[in-house]
Amino acid sequence: MEPQFQPGDRVRIRVNYPARHFRTPGYIQGKIGHVVGVHGAFRNPEALAYGGDGLPKQFLYLVRFPQSHIWNTTPAASDTLYIDIYEPWLESA
């Protein structure tokens, strides 16, 4: 199993509010950032939450966003947000 994305890739966080446990905060959904790292593959917490085995494992990525791309406020231009996102929540952008 190979990760679908690599450091440097431009990605959009999918928009989805499933009626179940999910671990991608609403504020980052629909935003575009860049992959900065691949943490590895982990059991899916969205299945583990219901007593499942969380398999197959999913790749987990560290994704960087400029703060100014997320909020309508005026954060310092240099400031960033780093967040861990599972592969099914990412799409190329």
């Binding site: 671990r23 703060q67 400031d79």
Partner: protein, 212 residues
């Protein structure tokens, strides 16, 4: 002979439960009762685990940071593979498989939050402070980190990048604060005393040594 001591029972208000149980407390209590009743865990095993959890303090983390300050090779390893590095200090690392160390520098200030719940490197720092779990901190530090840091007494210069880490998944983040100036002569154990819990979350800097 519980009542031979002479104090006056009218001197204080009767001791009563301070609040009604919340739905979550009731649920946790019900699950605990079931686990015990069905024999999945024993009361002694649970008591022992709680004691272990409560015994972990930020002191473990301060050792890691102090070593990183004095030993560049250790710091390099810590930033690449935190678990391997920490194991060399003789610290229990079973629960640390997903730890990532973040180095604060003169140009980057990292601060950690879990906007979804209260993810925290408990194996190194113990239980998180109440404010870390509060909706106030979790919702505000992602939107306006500089303002929140200022409330903690931490002013970040405009030319320093503030990096907010939202710990949403399996990774746990430990901030390595900057080594304070004027500490060149201090020994490792003395340096560890300058490292605070809050500096390892990233809402504060390490303490500066008191002027002699």
């Amino acid at each position: 002979m519980p009542h031979e001591h002479p104090h006056d029972h009218a001197a204080h208000a009767p001791i009563v439960a301070s609040h009604a149980m919340t739905p979550y407390e009731k649920r946790a209590s019900a699950i605990e009762s079931l686990l015990l009743a069905k024999g999945f865990i024993s009361a002694e095993a649970m008591r022992q685990k709680l004691e272990e959890i409560d015994a972990i303090t930020p002191a473990l983390g301060t050792r890691v940071v102090a070593r990183a300050w004095v030993d560049p090779a250790f710091k390099a390893q810590l930033l690449v593979n935190a678990k391997e590095a920490i194991a060399t200090l003789g610290i229990e690392t079973d629960a640390l498989t997903t730890l990532v160390a973040l180095e604060n520098t003169s140009t980057i200030h990292n601060v950690v939050v879990c906007t979804l719940c209260s993810c925290y490197p408990r194996a190194l720092l113990g239980l998180p402070p109440d404010w870390y779990k509060s909706l106030n901190y979790r919702s505000r530090v992602v939107v306006g980190p500089r303002g929140v840091l200022r409330e903690f007494g931490t002013d970040i210069p405009a030319d320093v990048e503030v990096r907010v880490y939202d710990s949403t998944a399996d990774m746990r983040y430990l901030v390595i604060p900057e080594r304070p100036a004027g500490t060149e002569q201090l020994r490792e154990a003395e340096l560890a005393e300058l490292v605070t819990r809050d500096s390892m979350i990233g809402v504060a800097k390490a303490r500066t040594p008191v002027a002699v």
